[in-house]
Amino acid sequence: MNLFFCFIGVLIGTLVGVLPGLGPVAAMSLLLPTTFHVSPVSAIIMLAGIYYGAMYGGSTTSILVNIPGEAASVVTCLDGYQMARKGRAGPALGISAFGSFIGGTLSIIGLMFMAPPLAEMALQFGPPEYFSLMLLGLIILTFLASGSMPKALMMAAFGLFLGLIGMDIMTATPRFTFNLYFLMDGVGLVPVVMGLFGVSEVLLNVEARIKQDIFETKIKGLLPNLKDWRDSAWPIIRGSVIGFFLGILPGGGAVISSFVSYGVEKKCSRHPEKFGTGAIEGVAGPETANNAATGGAFIPLLTLGIPANAVMAMLLGALIIYGMQPGPMLIKQHPDLFWGAVTSMYIGNGMLLVLNLPLIGIWVKILKIPYPVLFPLILLFCLIGVFSLNNNVGEIGLMLFFGGVGYLMKKFNYEAAPLVLALVLGPMMENALRQSLIMSNGSMGIFFTRPISLGIALVVLALLILPLLPWVKKKREVIAEMVEDE
């Protein structure tokens, strides 16, 4: 049964990765309501499958149509599309699939070995450490935001506030509910995410009258030849390591991994001028990295209960809704969840490898469904899905409200990911902060006197000051430009 969900997850993930305009977060949020009718383990397996499946799918459109299926595949457009134009779409797609498989599998192995000992270490964490770590996660995410950091931090502050709406656990006072009963339990994660990512994206696409132009290519010879393999070997290895470790960092994730991998490959190459004209290293490295990041990203979630990025934040929210307590005890208390998820990831990666290559033709056909027909279906899915959560029409309204908010946010260039992360972390951060202050009898020094917390706090300070330094500013602007060109 779980195999079935794994399959569905990776299938949908690839589909979502292929479709421009729908990312894994949107897809996971769309499918979140459906997962509540099945067991938590199956649900997590499926959602995880969507995540890394999307990393596979995103490369398909990047290579074929020069439109990244999603942010982590932006870099693949650079050389992948060029390879396609030279008639080498097949090897590009092939090495992308294989690299993704290797990266994903290696990172799962890493996850398997690193997670349990990390969980043990995490038991030493007290409220101050948790607070500092969560703050770090938020700050890293905003640091890596492509836009202005203050604006991203603003969204984090707002998300934090949203997370606190509802009944306060410690004192049982309802906060900011304005007598709306459906807010008593807080602003639900699902309506917010579906609105912010799903509905708003549809609105923007409808407004822009998106047209998809796909050129017909015969894709023959999907297998990369021996030279391709030799050229790609080191990029794949480097990509796996880069992706895995960057994925672990809160705020890191697939996007950053792919950019860093591209940069590293260019530096390591003997022919850096080939990059941008169809160098296979420029495809192999980043694609491996973005899949490796997915494995790494699970580590903070499963060991510390802290999401490393917006996708993990959703999974965290889902775990909480299922009644599982994420944190160091998760592996001990629910080993079936951990090992079930890990095993499914292996299988999922394998499925994806098999799925991607033959099914490319089908993905291309789906890309051709005209948007005027596609978007009502997407919206419908959102509406009914959200309703099915709690049989609450109010939540549909909430989703539409955040759809509007998300639409405006994108117009005015505010990032949604910090908001989501803060929304999920908000209640936990508040608890950690309050407990820390009670422990220390009101002194803020507790965050700086305990060694682990001090270390983390210093990194936070560094990240806040770093953007002000001129050369860091330049680097961030370069990355921002690359992302904007998508």
């Binding site: 203050p150 604006k151 502050a157 009258r209 009914i384 899905g385 309204g397 009898n441």
Partner: protein, 151 residues
Amino acid sequence: MKNNDQRSSLFWLAIGLAIALYSVKYGLGKFSSPGPGFVPFLSGLALAGLALVVFLQQLSKGSREKLKDLWVQKNWPSIMMVMAALVLYTLLFRFLGFLLATFLLTAFLLRVMEPLSWKKVLAGAIGAAIGSYAIFQLWLEAQLPAGFLGF
């Protein structure tokens, strides 16, 4: 006002201040025992403070732009129609019942971007209503409302 970042940051400044002020009424408590309003107050203050930073940043280096530039060459009447349809759907959902409401909404939406033939629209709407019923009610066992017509 120079550009859109300034306009939006003023908006957020107001929101942040509103949050902070409203939080006071929940009780800030003391540092040694923070009250329910403590963290919301901080978040509102942070929001307002950051918004101010953005506003001031734009004074020196921001570029000039008009508000309506954001909507240049965009099909914004469609957006209004889509949102209106979605809101209407939400309000009438229980009254009309799932099947009828979904049918009407899909039919309307299918014609929003490009005028499709009425046959296709009808087929699509019926297909969507029945298909989603099958997925959500029959397979996933959600509980979708029947409307005043009884289905």
